[in-house]
């Protein structure tokens, strides 16, 4: 059952005060708070159930291994992947993208090839590809973003060529909140023989994706943006591709046998999980996914849509306020500017009023240039936010506007 006041009690962070004011947390696109069951599980494992996975015969090691592999199954089901071999745990979205950039890049990308990304990407889905292109002498090509924040998908076939080795696209922009038509994009890319990596950093929290239905070849996301612990993430990869890709990092657990003459590697997914993974964090991520699933994705989406609709309406009361990314559907975030007001000034004053918002380039410099601004202000909501919090924040913005524009 989705009862907001009960749900809010599950998140200890929400009941605190900052600067003597009740915290209003609108920076959920950066990281979400953790519900009590996740905190309790991580605490329990750190206190008692801590044994290194995949190697020990003892009780604690076995328990941790079981839980870790259960988490893999939970993630598989969440993404509707065809097997657990396709689910690799990483330290986060950025680590997952870098894994693909190195490993896929090593195997498939050569001088003269190209990688296609979009203008709507987060720096984490730009820079690893730039580095890859520099290493390989490949070319980075960019699909521009429309003024309303949507992608001109119809331009894709012209941009993709026989030399295109991968298309990397975000499921939802962390700045504009616009959800991209992943299935259409994948279809267009596959028609040209190009595999697709989908950055789910902002998408996983709104219900993830069915990777088989969408048809994407890679899907990556972070645990901490999905009510799970920091330092956890997931790389889904289609098995045929992951099989072809060489290990990226070497170390424990990714090997079958080691001798100084030759090392043979473990099968999937361990081939990509060198070293002791953040197994306690991963178990926490499983708990977080279970928690949201119990609430129900439909109810979560409904509450987030209510919030974003309410905020869109209320924010437009402010004269000179410009919202970015009008295209639908949207996730639950809104980025905006108020004429004559620097977003940093507004964010700093909001902070003093207990309201955590985000300001600056939002890790997306190319988008800032696209919209010809130095920065933006961003409110990003979670299902645990309330319309009353939005009202308080809008009133605060009105006050700030008055303060900053009086001569």
């Amino acid at each position: 059952m989705f009862i907001l006041q009960t749900i809010r009690k599950d998140f200890p962070a929400l009941s605190q005060q900052v600067y003597g004011k009740p915290l209003i947390y609108f920076d959920n696109a950066a990281t979400t708070h953790k519900p009590a069951p996740v905190i309790a599980l991580v605490n329990e494992m750190n206190s008692f159930i801590n044994g290194n996975i995949h190697r020990a015969f003892h009780c604690l090691g076995t328990m941790c291994t079981e839980r870790y592999e259960e988490a893999r199954e939970t993630v598989r089901a969440f993404l509707h992947a065809s097997s657990v071999e396709e689910i690799v745990f990483t330290a986060g979205t950025t680590a997952a993208i870098n894994t693909v950039a190195f490993s896929f890049g090593e195997r498939f990308v050569h001088a003269g090839d190209d990688i296609v990304i979009t203008e709507a990407e987060h720096h984490s889905n730009i820079v690893p590809w730039q580095l890859l292109c520099e290493r390989k002498g490949a070319l980075l090509k960019v699909l521009p973003v429309n003024h309303d924040g949507s992608l001109p998908v119809e331009q894709l076939p012209r941009l993709l060529s026989k030399r295109t080795k991968l298309l990397c696209v975000t499921q939802a922009s962390n700045v504009l909140g616009v959800m991209n038509p992943v299935k259409d994009i994948v279809a267009a890319a596959h028609a040209c023989g190009v595999p697709v990596l989908v950055d789910g950093a902002q998408g996983a929290v709104h219900g993830g994706i069915d990777v088989q239905d969408a048809g994407c070849d890679f899907y990556v996301f972070s645990g901490h943006k999905l009510y799970g612990p920091t330092g956890t993430g997931v790389l889904y990869g289609r098995q045929e591709l992951l099989d072809e890709m060489p290990p990226w990092q070497g170390g424990g657990e990714m090997i079958a046998a080691v001798s100084f003459e030759k090392t043979t590697y473990a099968g999937l997914p361990l081939k990509f999980e060198a070293g002791t993974p953040n197994f306690i964090g991963v178990c926490g991520l499983k708990k977080a996914i279970d928690y949201v699933q119990e609430l129900g994705w439909a109810q979560v989406r409904e509450q987030e849509e209510t919030l974003v609709r309410h905020a869109t309406r209320r924010l437009q009361e402010i004269e000179g306020l410009q919202l970015y990314g009008a295209a639908q559907p949207k996730t639950s975030l809104l980025s905006f500017n108020i004429a004559g007001i620097h977003p940093t000034d507004a964010a700093q004053l909001l902070d003093k009023m207990g309201i955590a918002a985000r300001s600056g380039h939002l890790c997306a410099d190319p988008l800032m240039r696209r919209f010809n601004v130095q920065g933006m202000l961003r409110f990003s909501f979670s299902f645990y936010n309330t319309t009353e919090e939005i009202d308080t924040a809008v009133d605060a913005l009105k006050k700030i506007k008055q303060l900053l524009s009086c001569q």
């Binding site: 000034d345 004053l349 300001s359 600056g360 130095q374 920065g375 900053l404």
Partner: protein
């Protein structure tokens, strides 16, 4: 007036404003009254890039006294820029080099000079001291 005395003046000024809102209002006011920065000096040479806001700084030295002029695109940052200019401008290079910035802590605006803020202010202070060092060694 020596740097320490100007700093004390600022501390006294802000002590009259116990509420954070009044402090920030005062800061915004100070930002507005900062002498205008010559637009033609708003070049990359004078730009101190921060992730959140930008600061421009230029300096000249005549008869052993440094004059700083500065600006920012964010008004609160500009308010703090104005405090730094007020403290450091009109001082000999050695005094700028020796000065500490504890007065910013004392007036309750410490977080603005934190490296995590990335508003260019910390880099601005470093740049002011670099100018001072350069002027000190340029002396005939």
């Amino acid at each position: 007036m020596p740097i320490a005395d100007i700093a004390q003046q600022i501390i006294d000024e802000f002590a009259l404003l116990p509420d954070w809102m009044d402090k920030y209002e005062h800061l915004i006011e100070l930002g507005r009254t900062l002498p205008p920065f010559d637009e033609k000096h708003k070049t990359d040479t004078h730009l101190i890039e921060g992730c959140q806001s930008r600061v421009w700084l230029s300096a000249a030295c005549h008869d052993g006294i440094i004059t700083f002029t500065a600006d920012s695109d964010a008004i609160i940052t500009k308010g703090i820029v104005s405090l730094l200019v007020r403290v450091f401008s009109g001082q000999p290079p050695q005094a700028v080099l020796d000065a500490d910035l504890d007065f910013i802590n004392q007036i309750g605006l410490k977080e603005n000079l934190s490296p995590t803020r990335s508003n260019g202010l910390l880099a601005m202070v470093k740049q002011m001291k670099m100018y001072a060092l350069a002027f000190l060694h340029k002396k005939p």
